[in-house]
């Protein structure tokens, strides 16, 4: 599902966020990206969602090389990835329903289908009945769940989350993580960046640790270079 082959990323300001990172994530896997803040976790997620492109190396998402993807194909590419942010990035001037429906609206889904899917997504995160509320009327935990509903509403095969529990207390964090686990159980590939090692340990999933732009353990593919070369 995801293959990083000796990926390096240097930002225009000269900061080198990643220095030759290699790992792979198989379809249907749930993987944690751990490491201190600033270690490069967010950069990995940005490279997956094509918010950034690698300076060197290859990123393959679902078999597609993100370096060679043309700009006009990026929107369609992003529709296959659900993204959850720490600050959830909800639009405060629109009700919960419209926020969740946005990924379906941009892909020109029929209205009837949108209605069905939005309700299903809100049901999955336990917010059915709050469609007409403003995100500002919801608690932080609920806002985060709206963000998750938006990420999964178009049923993407890949779900990525950047510190989704960063602003939540331990109980809420656990609840949100269980939600991600449920999506993994129905076949979605899930990648979660978090610095919360307790949560990672509790869930017992594979964890890819990134330190100083390098991977320290959990790459999941020892024979990786040859794997990329054969593609």
């Amino acid at each position: 599902m995801i293959v990083f082959d000796r990926v390096a990323k240097r930002y225009p300001n000269g900061r080198e966020a990643l220095a030759g990172v290699s790992f792979r994530v198989d379809p249907g896997e749930m993987v944690f990206l751990t490491g201190k803040s600033g270690a490069g976790k967010s950069t990995v997620l940005k490279l997956i969602a094509l918010l950034e492109r690698p300076t060197r190396g290859t990123v393959l998402i679902n078999g597609r090389n993100t370096s060679t993807l043309k700009a006009r194909h990026i929107p369609a590419f992003r529709r296959h990835i659900g993204v959850v942010f720490q600050d959830h990035k909800l639009l405060a001037d629109r009700p919960v329903y419209d926020n969740v429906a946005l990924p379906l609206v941009v892909s020109d889904t029929p209205l009837r289908e949108i209605d069905k899917r939005v309700r299903a997504a809100l049901d999955q995160v336990g917010l059915l009945g709050k469609e007409r509320m403003s995100p500002l009327e919801l608690s932080v935990g609920e806002q985060q769940r709206v963000g998750i509903a938006r990420a999964v509403v178009s049923k993407p095969p890949l779900l990525i989350a950047d510190e989704p529990t960063g602003n939540l207390d331990p109980d809420l964090a656990l609840e949100v993580m269980r939600l991600f686990k449920r999506f993994q159980e129905v076949g979605v590939t899930v990648v979660i960046a978090t610095h919360d090692v307790h949560l990672v340990r509790e869930f017992g999933q594979r964890a890819i640790t990134i330190e100083n732009g390098q991977v320290h353990g959990g790459t999941g593919a020892d024979a990786l270079p040859s794997l990329v070369a054969t593609r």
């Binding site: 929107p75 992003r78 529709r79 942010f85 639009l91 990924p103 029929p110 178009s154």
Partner: protein, 307 residues
Amino acid sequence: MSVASYGARHVQAFLGALGRLARNPLASILTLLVVALALALPMSLKLFVTNARVATGDFTNAVDLSVYLKTDVALSKAEQLAASARARPGVADVTLIPADKALEEFRTYSGFGAALEVLEQNPLPHVLQVHPAPDASSTASVESLRRYFAAWPEVELVQIDSDWVMRFNAILDVLRTVLVIAAALLGMGVLAVVGNTIRLEILNRRAEIEVTKLVGGSNGFVRRPFLYTGMLYGLGGALLAWGIVAVTVVVLARPVATLASLYGSHYSLTGLGMEDAAILLAGGAVLGWLGAWISASRHLSSIEPRA
């Protein structure tokens, strides 16, 4: 994607654009006013040219010749000349205006009555007003008539009355060119005003655009509501311009009627016709759409989501 859902998206984008205009009435009204003025100006000028043309339309067929006889030609001789002029082919009618009658009219209408008293003798000549036959009204035929009468020894001067009509038409042609230039410049003004308004709106909705692109919204999808907003500004401005021009016509109707009656005419001002209105509305909508498109193309691509 079905046609129905495609249509529904556009209706949604249209209604959304309308809603945003309504939510921010002051800024919307200011933009609408500027667009309206920019459109009303060339439209008024066009109306002016059209009206001037219609008002003088009656005279374009005025190809009468004024044949001024020498002052020493006697009235009886003038009557003979009038008769022979009448016999000439291509002449429909000849009216003799005797010098005395001409002086009388001049005294009455010119306001120089008192000054004329000082004159010992009538300085005015007898005049033959020659009206060419309809089949001899072309410029060439009238010119040949002029040459024919000018050759008479008793004739001092032959004047073609339509000269001033031709000059006036030339002035109208100049005005029409001015109109085209003004319309082009003001059209660019509309592009700039709508473009700038759209630019501000894009900046205001930056967060929304970022999130939309993040969940896979294409540039086309993100641009759509702005194009509708621009089109609404253009269309609304054009409607307002229509109103401005209509009110102007109503306000001017009475003074123009008074002016026309002074010239003995029953001329009345022509307002915007259906065709003019259609051009105005379509032009406004297209300009607004284009302004928004230019602005959106420039500014939307620079907004990319950041995580």
